[in-house]
Symmetry: C2
């Protein structure tokens, strides 16, 4: 029989076990912090009805959707010229909207949910673009209304997550869509479409420089006056160094429309309250260039960047939206939330050398020095496991050196050697492969000793 080449599809990240452990630890850290802030878990099916998924999305999203058909249905849709009935979710927000609309009467509001699952996008394959990736989302959904105070809680969660992920200094950057919209309207750029085009140009500031952007904005395509272009450029370059600096810079923008003033008031309330949440002022700042999805977010918007790796871009983004599930229910459900694209983040951090290889989840390898002692090895392993110590036993005999090499390669730190002599003396020999050290310990003290060593290692992890 000819062999089928074993391969994954392009655009997925499949990890070797030690990398998977590092990834899993990041997932666990995020989950622990989401739970600490009182968010509740939900999971939704990967497959949804196509009409449910595609109510809101524009052309681009539709081109990226993976459709699903069971064998029986294959071709039927194509013959009818239609779209298949089922598709894979491309984010966790649309499924959340469907979930809240479907289970509305069984949920308590404000509904605080976290969801950490994979999503699918049929993107063209290229380096750093994934067709399957984890999103780790939180959202707070209100019924009818939701206080802007929840907008201040979100950065507290972000701070807690990334402090514990321990991947370097970071800054949570905030803006407000009302402030931005009001400011642009004031300058005569009131069409939403045109605002978006202007912002897209402004996005090139870092790469092309202010002169290039000013020229484009005052050119034929936009036809803005030099004064308006300068005001836009000044606005989007506002950054703050502290809450009081942010207040001063917001005040310096002058007065504006009702929308503008509402945005400014919201931003001030949010910035002041983030401080009450004990987030250090070094870790959040005003950044008036942040826009996010213009058709979706309506108030506060967030991005988070690593101070020493700005090239990685935003590692956690989101914002406030007016109505989550208008396509499914007449209930008015405002919300605020963020998403961490963990697959891409992990890949970028690894690429930048910011993730060290994980130690194995296996704490101890009990070697097989003497096959006749196997029952003793198994009893020892049971004792360790009952104490919560992850233990593997070598069940197939080989040379001790080979067993040590296996442990080393597998990232297992402690190796236990137990021969007839040791059993007679009531002791156990422990090799610490990380410290390249070896010691003898009384059999009765083994669990206690290893627990202490492993607890110390956990702190250093």
């Amino acid at each position: 029989m000819a062999l089928t080449p074993a391969r994954t599809m392009p655009g997925v990240l499949e990890l070797l076990p030690l990398d998977q452990i590092a990834f899993q630890r990041m997932l666990d850290t995020i989950r622990r912090n989401y739970e600490r802030f009182g968010f509740l878990p939900i999971e939704t099916p990967v497959i949804e009805h196509s009409d449910v998924l595609l109510t809101k999305s524009g052309g681009e999203t539709e081109r990226q959707v993976y459709f699903v058909q069971s064998t029986g249905a294959l071709g039927a849709a194509a013959e009818k010229g239609g779209v298949p009935e089922l598709a894979l979710r491309f984010d966790l927000t649309v499924p959340l909207a469907r979930y809240v609309a479907e289970h509305e009467h069984d949920l308590s509001f404000p509904f605080r949910r976290y969801q950490m699952q994979r999503v699918y996008r049929g993107e063209r394959a290229q380096r750093g673009r994934f067709r399957e990736f984890y999103q780790c989302d939180i959202d707070v959904i209100g019924k009818d209304s939701l206080s802007v105070r929840y907008d201040a809680e979100i950065p507290a969660v972000i701070y807690s997550v990334f402090r514990e992920l321990n991947i370097g200094a970071f800054t949570i950057q905030l803006n407000n869509r009302k402030l931005m919209r009001g400011y642009f309207e004031n300058l005569g750029v009131s069409d939403a479409e045109q605002q978006m085009l202007v912002l897209r140009e402004v996005d090139k500031l870092d790469k092309r420089g202010a002169d290039y952007v000013r020229e484009t904005l005052t050119g034929d395509a936009f036809g803005l006056s030099a004064e308006v272009a300068d005001k836009i450029l000044a606005f989007v370059q506002v950054r703050s160094t502290s809450v009081s600096d942010a207040f001063a810079k917001l005040d310096a923008l002058g007065s504006g429309s009702e929308t503008f003033e509402q945005g400014r008031a919201e931003l001030k309330e949010v910035l002041a309250m983030i401080r009450d949440f004990d987030v250090p002022e070094t870790h959040f700042a005003l950044n008036l260039s942040i826009a996010r999805g213009l058709d979706y977010y309506t108030g506060t918007v967030y991005e988070t960047t690593l101070n020493d790796h700005l090239g990685i871009g935003s590692i956690c983004s989101g914002g406030r939206y007016e109505n989550l599930a208008g396509q499914y229910t007449k209930s008015h459900l405002p919300g605020v939330g963020i998403s961490i694209g963990l697959t891409r983040l992990y890949w970028q951090l690894r690429d930048a050398g910011l993730i060290s290889t994980a130690q194995s989840t296996v704490d101890v390898l009990v070697t097989q020095m003497d096959a006749a002692q196997l029952p003793a090895y198994l009893t020892l392993a049971t004792e360790l496991r009952n104490a919560g110590i992850a233990t593997e036993v070598v069940l197939e005999g080989s040379k001790l050196g080979k067993q040590f090499k296996y442990a080393d390669r597998a990232g297992i730190r402690f190796v236990i050697v137990l021969g007839e002599d040791e059993i007679a003396k009531g002791v156990v020999t422990v090799k610490d492969l990380r410290r390249e050290d070896q010691f003898e310990v009384a059999r009765t003290e083994l669990v206690k000793t290893l627990r202490v060593e492993l607890a110390q290692a956990d702190i250093g992890r």
Copy 2:
């Protein structure tokens, strides 16, 4: 705009948050036990190349496969009359085979992996049948060979998992395909296909009774002699009550072919060694009616049943196979493993009333008695969170009674009330909604007190 009805596709299990928490606790328990036995995590993509997924599977599996096409590729395959290039995995075994073949040179053998992910089958929708469900698998894969001792370790893991899941008394039942095959060959039923048909009849024993099955086996379809039929019926009814009973019953089968004797020797070694793994003899037994997938398993086979709920069927099954990945690699990779179909198990347990509603992951709700004190509430919450206590703060004011009702409905046990008086006195009022009790505690003692209460609750969980 007309509303789209918010609904999931049939055949999926979507849970409300408190149920999701109960489900997640089961996943965590399984994972903790898998890790305790030294299994390493892997995750594979949901989407695989169709030719990789479908090399081995027969017609039935193919009919149940979900194929995947991005928008651009839609219809193209149908026009060519072919099968789409991509499909969703229908189990975790084929992806494991592909993974091991693909990464063979980066893995250490014996390769011990666990994998807990969802799989997809386009089954006809009916009660208790799921199109999307979790499988929680472990496998040990050897290179060239794998000692039968690993077959004895698997029941130790099963025992550890289900003891901790705490869903009632259970029995791990064992058989060996070589013993079974040898016994049938001895009786002249040597064709694998015919063996399977006979076993399918024998499976009706419980429902139709021995007379019915004997009649069928001696009838035209099978044409077996009465003596052979009786021997088959006697064989498949063998059960043991202890290891020594199992040995006696295996010996009583008389002598047989080389295959038969090899199967018997393996079973004896495995049964004796399970005891060395400290699995009580009340929790495992010989059951010579167990066959599992005849084309796949080649040695030990396992099923696990709940003693008081036999109707639920096997809650954890698996066995030994000769060669994992022959379709992808020339390497010989024998293995042994099991799978827990958690979605179905959870659904069945809940249906049978064996799962109690979970307490929330949120430990504490800090109420908002006085909006002016919000900064104090936030500081208190930060303290609790830093101590690892999951805390939600009411950010939007409402009557206290309504806030209590929210906590109660959401399954949150502790509610904290903090007014001006309490702040002045340096105390906090704690309402314990489970005990319907309320007490005052010094602010400085709050973390310690709650930690003790929550640790006790954990034990009772």
